[in-house]
C-alpha cells in the first residue's frame, strides 16, 4: 500500500520560491497567475495494514515542521 503526503507552507508564511515562480510565469506571458505556492509531495511505500494514524505520526515527527508547514495525508 502507499500513502501520499502533501506538505505546504502555512498561509501567512512567505514563500519566496512560489513568488519567484509566479514572476517567471508572468514573464512568460501567463498574466492570469495571481499567486503561486510551492510545496512538496512525499510518497510512502508502506507495509499492508499501516494506518493513517501512523502516517500522521510520521508527519508530526519528521515529514512536516508544523511551525511553518501544514500537511495532508492521502492513503491509496
Amino acid at each position: 500500500m502507499k500513502a501520499r503526503v502533501h506538505v505546504m507552507l502555512k498561509n501567512g508564511v512567505l514563500d519566496p520560491q512560489g513568488e519567484a515562480v509566479r514572476h517567471a510565469l508572468g514573464a512568460l506571458g501567463f498574466d492570469s497567475v495571481k499567486g503561486v505556492r510551492q510545496g512538496k509531495v512525499i510518497e510512502l511505500d508502506l507495509a499492508d495494514g499501516t494506518s493513517e494514524a501512523d502516517v500522521t505520526e510520521m508527519c508530526e515527527k519528521l515529514l512536516a515542521n508544523t511551525v511553518i508547514e501544514s500537511y495532508s495525508v492521502e492513503m491509496a
Partner: protein
C-alpha cells in the same frame, strides 16, 4: 570548560568551532551523530554549521532526529549549555529546543559575507562579553536563514529579552531582524552568523572571540 562538538555527515564548520573553543581555553571532544551518549563532564554542546544530511527534507530535520540529538536535548533539559551556529541553529529549532524555524532567504540567494550584528542583550553566558547595543562584524553563510515565528512568539522573545543578536541590515528577511535567540533559561543559543569565523586575526576579524571567552569564563566556575 569541556565542550563537545557534534559532527553530522555534511557538517563543515565542526573543526572551526572546535578551534574557536580551544583558543578560548576549552577542552574539546568531537561527537559523532550516531553516538548515543555525550562524553562525561560536558558543559556545553556545540552544534556546528554545514549541510547536515545534505539539507534533505528540511535543513536540520534529519539531524534533529539523530541519536546524538536525543542526548543533546537531554543535556539541555538538565540545564546544560548548547550553542547552535547556522545549520546548528536550524537543528535546534527542528528539535524544539528553540522556537520558530529558518526559512529560505527572502531573496532566494545563498549569502556569504560579513554583516553587522547588534548585540541585543548582554544578559547571557554567550553575550556577557559584549555590551548591549554593541555592533559587531560577523560572517554569515546561508541559504535558509530567514527566521520565522508567529507574532506571539516574536513578542515573547522580545518581552523576555531573548533576542541575542539582530542584523543591522536585514540580509535574509528574518522577522524582527533576528539573527540569534536564547532559550528560556538563556543556556541555549542559536544564531545564523558564524562567530567561529571571526575568532582569530587571520580571519580578518575577531569580533566573535568575546562569545567564546565569555562562555569559558562563565563555565570555568561550573
Amino acid at each position: 570548560m569541556h565542550a563537545a562538538v557534534v559532527v553530522f555527515p555534511g557538517s563543515n564548520c565542526d573543526r572551526d568551532l572546535a578551534v574557536a573553543f580551544k583558543a578560548a581555553g576549552a577542552k574539546v571532544s568531537m561527537v559523532w551523530h550516531k553516538d548515543t551518549d555525550l562524553p562525561d563532564g560536558v558543559d556545553i554542546v556545540g552544534v556546528p554549521g554545514g549541510f547536515s544530511f545534505g539539507d534533505y527534507l528540511r535543513c536540520g530535520a534529519i539531524a534533529a532526529n539523530s541519536p546524538v540529538c536525543r542526548s543533546v536535548a537531554a543535556h539541555a533539559g538538565r540545564g546544560g549549555y548548547v550553542l547552535g551556529i547556522c545549520n546548528g541553529f536550524q537543528v535546534l529549532t527542528e528539535t524544539g529546543l528553540l522556537p520558530g524555524a529558518l526559512l529560505r532567504n527572502a531573496g532566494l540567494k545563498y549569502i556569504c559575507r560579513t554583516v553587522g550584528l547588534k548585540v541585543q542583550t548582554s544578559a547571557s553566558p554567550f553575550t556577557a562579553g559584549y555590551n548591549a547595543g554593541d555592533v559587531v562584524q560577523i560572517p554569515i553563510a546561508h541559504h535558509d536563514g530567514n527566521y520565522f515565528a508567529d507574532d506571539e512568539t516574536i513578542a515573547m522573545l522580545q518581552g523576555e529579552d531573548r533576542i541575542a543578536f539582530s542584523y543591522t541590515e536585514n540580509p535574509n528577511g528574518a522577522r524582527a531582524d533576528i539573527a540569534g535567540i536564547l532559550s528560556e533559561n538563556r543556556r541555549v543559543l542559536g544564531m545564523m552568523p558564524h562567530p567561529e569565523r571571526a575568532a582569530d586575526p587571520v580571519h580578518g576579524g575577531t569580533d566573535g572571540q568575546a562569545l567564546f571567552r565569555a562562555l569559558t569564563s562563565a563555565l570555568a566556575e561550573v
